[in-house]
Amino acid sequence: MARPTSAGDAGGDAAGLGRGRAVAFVLPALALVGVFLVFPALWTIYLGLTDYRLTGLAAAEPRVVGLDNYTGALADPEFLRSLWLTLGYVGGSAIVGQAGLGFTLAWILRTRRGRLRGLVEGVVLLSWILPSTVVGFLWFALLDRDDGTLNALLGTPGLGWLLDHPLLSIIVFNVWRGTAFSMMLYAAALENVPPSHLETARLAGASVPQQLRDVVFPLIRRHVLTNLLLISLWTFNDFTPFVLTGGGPEGRSEILPIYVYDVALRGGELGAGAAVSFLILLINLVIALAYLRLLRGRRREAVHDAAAKGPPA
């Protein structure tokens, strides 16, 4: 225990917590999560193996149908279309949009202080915390075909953004909605980058992209991965675009959470909906494993970093 540790490795126990107390600290959260998360989640996964419906004969006597719901979904062209749409939505709005714009803003604002920075951060955060029920109306007012503010500004009356470019519309919407989280996380990460490193690189003639690649990225890699993991998962399960397009026109913005809503609530097929929910979980698991592989790479480097930097100040 005498070894000074970087907490990130958590090999030590700085506060003298001990296993027993650590368990006591984790227990309340674990209990709540166990009852209100794990239990209903497992139940939902079980429902995915039945033909359970909200009403009708199958509500009275659900039968176990094995993997029928899964094979049914995988053979359903609407599910597959929805899956591709979702991947496009996550890739475009979360990975490229939110993370990209969030980092850009954090990078530009890191050296600024005062009003302008406060103002930019303020509007970005406001779009993050406004109730999702309200933001649907805001964007509807912006993008509407007949009376939308955007068409009025651009002088393009009658341009149906939500009809002609539904996926693009909800991608832009979600960038607006969720950039704040990435911006905050990268602002925190950039605090870890010593200005002297950047200065040295700049004097050595490195361009901004070179600085980002060689100096900044290695230091904030871990934040990047945390960020991508969370925003991918959140975006994958984001139901908010429903308010904007309802999944339409003709399913062209029907991302998976809306597909599940259609199947489970509108169609009443709770068993099939539960199966698709579990498929979403599996897809997210694959994504998470991919990120984890990258995280492993990060750890080796972090140890290397710590050795180079020496013990914490």
């Binding site: 958590a10 090999g11 126990d13 700085a14 506060a15 917590l17 001990g18 107390r21 650590a22 600290f25 984790v26 309340p28 959260a29 674990l30 709540l32 999560v33 209100f36 998360l37 794990v38 239990f39 209903p40 989640a41 939902t44 996964i45 995915g48 359970y52 909200l54 803003l105 103002l119 509007v123 970005v124 955060l125 406001l126 779009s127 915390i129 109730p131 999702s132 029920t133 309200v134 805001l138 007012a141 509407d144 009376d147 503010t149 955007l150 925190a188 870890n192 361009s207 969370l230 994958f236 399960n237 908010t240 599940v260 489970a264 609530l265 709770l270 539960a274 579990f278 979980l281 997210n284």
Partner: protein, 272 residues
């Protein structure tokens, strides 16, 4: 030097575009509530405060904002306290498989917050006698938010130096004292951020609040907002815009308070 100037200009342009992009959709919220005949167009309003009088006439509108505060505030408090305790312990003590466990919980939370889980969640709440109670809503939504909150906070606590804790321990402070007097002040902006995030997530939530509550006197604003339609499903834009504004104010107020008081960011006061 030229490169530097170009860089500066690009940065300024990006800021200007970003400001416009983020502010533009909010114009409607600023204009429509004061408009005598609001439509989905943002326009210079024919000024009136009549819409506010109309929404105050709605028997559930103001009460629903109070309910949102109870449910959102309750969930935010519960999530912050439980997540902070758990994240601290997980950050400081090596528990085998903790990362895998956290990922797994994070994934399960996505199942439970989806539509397909409504029957299990409702049956669970019925059996625990939590239907039509604020507590039921708070517990159900907290269960969905905790994994992400622990995940973010653990990351955040991993970043804070442990040397202060070690010194405090040398002087005989107990782990709870250390958490309260040393760790919490260090991570306060992060806790505040998580609190606002939890509040905002609960604030906009509809489905579980709707199926778990019966008495409209307990319904939060998100549920009441959906009732401001006519029989044929046409939105009452005068009421919706006005209520949206009123209903957004508490979250915005909490954000302003928190960011002024504690800072709103994911990094603490001391860097190692």
């Amino acid at each position: 030097m030229i490169r530097h100037v170009i860089g500066r200009l690009t940065a300024t342009a990006v800021i200007a575009v970003a400001l416009a992009f983020f502010a533009l959709p909010m114009l409607w919220l600023a204009a429509a509530p004061f408009d005598a005949t609001p439509s989905i167009t943002t326009s210079v309003p024919e000024f009136t405060l009549g819409n506010f009088a109309a929404i105050l006439d709605n028997p559930y509108a103001l009460g629903s904002i109070r309910n949102s505060i109870i449910q959102g505030g309750g969930a935010a408090a519960l999530v912050v306290v439980l997540a902070a305790l758990a994240a601290y312990a997980l950050s400081r003590v090596r528990v085998p498989g903790r990362d895998a466990l956290l990922y797994l919980l994070l994934l399960l939370s996505s199942v439970v917050t989806g539509t397909a889980a409504m029957v299990p969640v409702f049956e669970l709440a019925t059996r625990l006698d939590l239907v039509d109670t604020h507590l039921g809503v708070i517990l159900v939504v907290s269960g969905g938010l905790l994994p992400a909150a622990i995940f973010i906070l653990k990351d955040f606590m991993d970043e804070t130096p442990t040397s202060y804790e070690e010194s405090a321990r040398v002087f005989g402070a107990s782990p709870l004292q250390i958490l309260r007097h040393i760790v919490v002040p260090l991570v306060r902006p992060g806790l505040a951020t998580i609190a606002v995030w939890a509040l905002a997530s609960v604030w906009g939530g509809f489905l579980f609040q709707f199926i778990l509550l019966r008495d409209p006197g307990k319904a939060p604003g998100s549920v009441i907002l959906y009732t401001l339609y006519t029989e044929g499903g046409a939105p009452r834009l005068d009421l919706i815009s006005t209520f949206s504004l009123l209903y957004s104010l508490p979250v915005v107020a909490m954000y302003l308070f928190v960011s002024k008081r504690y800072g709103f960011r994911f990094h603490g006061g001391i860097k190692r």
